[in-house]
């Protein structure tokens, strides 16, 4: 699916979608001719109407005891695909334990599912017709026998995976009381060729690794894509024409523009939470300074001038502060300053050197890379530097990025190379912010520099 074809939600029942899809999707309503339409399905006669369902299980509880949910193969020609994507999302997040079962007709026989240990049940159909794809989806509480959710989606024939991710997000939110993150994408750098001169391409995929495709050719070294939190844009660094600088790519139009006019190398871009500015590092002398660049006016503002290396800046989700990496104290450490610059305060004090800080969308955690004794660790700490926890370690683990609800980090894992570069690998992993449920995303070939999109982005 090309980015420009991605459907936006257009809705007939604003309140339902406001709950499930947020403001951004609603703002896009009406703009998409081939959008996803979501209609409430009435509860079946025998089920209690208006069942509240939902959200009696916390994420913490589900980590310990994943929620058993029956996800049968839905009816219709697209049922197999939709079911497998929903099941993959819920199983891969570690908070659900999908159970295969027979497709119930009408009101399910809850006694049978209760005896299987199931807590919830999915039923429905996914059918492709002349009008495109229609998916009828119901979510049931097995314990009470009530329908928690019933929605019919209509969309383009090629949107089965997208609808399935949307449904998985609805299930996540109804059962855990938090927004999900399955209808999202990950931009990354695809790598190929010999270790000494790897071909790098900007690439993008669904968060489950499907629909992976390139966004740039491999002529120039390209690094560190970063999603806009509010629009279909990526900021990234390219060595185009042998001048390493920050660019912005509009995913809908394919238009790519240089961002900022600097003498030095500009790198380490990161969007502000409102999407209006991008902060980045610019080399000067033996150091680098942090600048913000306004996307509309292209006006730039210098935020640091320590003479040291100040890099990897990232805003707090409320936009009031910036965490960054600096060696102004002698070794690379993490600092926090106000969004306007100034008042920098060091927050990292553990063993080793620190880098690549990224602020959680929840605001309560900063993820980072720590290097000690030649080994890399990925960790999180509170913004005041307390509560440091290491989540995973390896030869190289770096460039962490939070999923939209802040519950999971994606990161790059690289293995050591032997003589001639053999043994080197580079892949994208994910891990829960508690250090639970580490897995890898099966991207095509070698990959690095993951950047998670916002929800429905």
């Amino acid at each position: 699916m090309r980015p420009s074809d991605l459907p936006l939600i257009s809705d007939v029942e604003a309140s339902l979608l406001a709950t499930h899809f947020g403001r951004r999707a609603l703002l896009g309503a009406g703009a998409a001719a081939t959008g996803v339409l979501a209609m409430p399905l009435s509860a079946l006669a025998q089920a209690a109407p208006g069942a509240p369902g939902a959200a009696e299980i916390t994420v913490d509880q589900a980590r310990t005891a994943p929620i058993p949910i029956v996800i049968p193969v839905l009816g219709g020609d697209a049922g197999q695909l939709v079911s497998s994507v929903i099941s993959g999302d819920l199983g891969n997040c570690g908070l659900f334990a999908p159970i295969n079962g027979a497709l119930p007709v009408g009101v399910p026989d809850f006694g049978t599912y209760k005896s299987l240990g199931a807590r919830a049940l999915v039923s429905g159909t996914a059918t492709t017709g002349a009008g495109g794809l229609r998916v009828e989806f119901r979510l049931w509480d097995v314990l009470t026998g009530q329908q928690i959710q019933g929605t019919a989606y209509t969309a383009g024939a090629g949107d089965a995976r997208k609808i399935a991710h949307i449904i998985a997000d609805v299930i996540y939110e109804r059962l855990l009381g938090e927004k999900g993150y399955f209808n999202s994408r990950i931009a990354y750098i695809a790598r190929s060729g010999p270790r000494a001169h790897q071909i790098t391409r900007l690439a993008i995929m669904d968060q489950d690794g499907a629909n992976s495709h390139y966004l740039s050719g491999g002529q120039w070294l390209t690094l560190t894509p970063r999603f806009s939190p509010v629009s279909d844009q990526l900021a990234f660094m390219s060595y185009a024409n042998n001048r390493p600088r920050v660019y912005v790519l509009n995913l809908a139009t394919g238009r790519q523009q240089l961002l900022g006019d600097f003498d030095g190398i500009s790198f380490a871009p990161r969007f502000a939470p409102d999407g209006h500015t991008v902060i980045m590092s610019v080399t000067r002398g033996g150091g680098s300074d942090i600048y913000s660049v306004d996307l509309a006016s292209r006006g730039k503002r210098q935020l640091t001038s320590s003479g040291a290396i100040d890099t990897s800046p990232c805003y707090s989700p409320d936009g009031s502060q910036i965490v960054f990496n600096s060696d102004r104290g002698g070794t690379p450490q993490l600092y926090i300053m106000s969004a306007g610059g100034g008042g920098a305060k060091r927050i990292s004090y553990g063993n080793g050197i620190y880098g690549s800080p990224v602020w959680s969308p929840r605001g309560d955690l900063i993820a980072f890379t720590r290097i000690a004794n030649g080994s890399f660790s990925l960790g999180v700490m509170a913004p005041d530097g307390t509560g440091e926890r290491i989540l995973t370690q390896g030869f190289t683990v770096d460039t962490a990025t939070f999923c939209p609800n802040g519950r999971v980090l994606a990161f790059c894992r690289q293995t050591a190379a032997g003589a001639g570069g053999a043994g080197f690998s580079s892949s994208i992993g994910t891990i829960d912010i508690t250090g639970f449920h580490e897995r890898s995303i099966p991207a095509a070939g070698m990959a690095s520099d993951p950047a998670w999109s916002p929800l429905n982005g």
Binding site: R195, N242, I265, I309, G418
Partner: protein, 158 residues
């Protein structure tokens, strides 16, 4: 003489065929300078073979060792001899740092070499710098020896 000239031309063509997006001479250069003939004076091959195209750094450092200074002294003398030549200094790092910090660190290394050359009389306008961070390792193994090779600033003729 004719064969020698053809050899030199062949080398020049080979080097010209390299993409801009590389560390030129990365596979052939050394820090040592052994006298060599058969290369075009003032060329990239001349620099690599007879001057020494790169200097090396300690972990997380940009200090110039006495060996590095000696190499840069030879580069300054060579640049004085060929005033039409302009060079790029490419800073590189081992892979024991974060991706973004290493881009800045590589530039800091190239900048240290640049400042030294300028102090030795090379016009600043003849020198550009770039950093590849940890993305263009010369030595592709992951051991102390390879990392030491990869912490460098490589001078190439533009």
């Amino acid at each position: 003489m004719r064969l020698k000239l053809l050899g030199a031309l062949g080398m020049a063509v080979f080097l010209a065929a390299c993409s801009d997006d590389t560390n030129k001479g990365a596979t052939t250069g050394t820090g040592a300078a052994a006298q060599s003939t058969g290369v075009t004076p003032g060329s990239e091959a001349d620099l690599v073979a007879n001057v020494g195209d790169r200097v090396f750094f300690e972990l997380n450092k940009n200090n110039l060792s006495s060996e590095a200074q000696a190499t840069l002294d030879r580069q300054a003398a060579w640049l004085a001899k060929y005033p039409q030549v302009t060079v790029q200094l490419a800073g590189n790092c081992d892979d024991r740092g974060t991706e973004e910090y290493n881009i800045a660190l590589g530039e800091r290394r190239a900048n240290a070499a640049r400042d030294y050359l300028v102090a030795k009389g090379v016009a600043a306008s003849r020198i550009t710098t770039i950093s590849y961070g940890k993305d263009r390792p010369t030595a592709t193994g992951d051991n102390e020896e390879a990392w030491a090779q990869n912490r460098n600033s490589i001078t190439s003729v533009r």
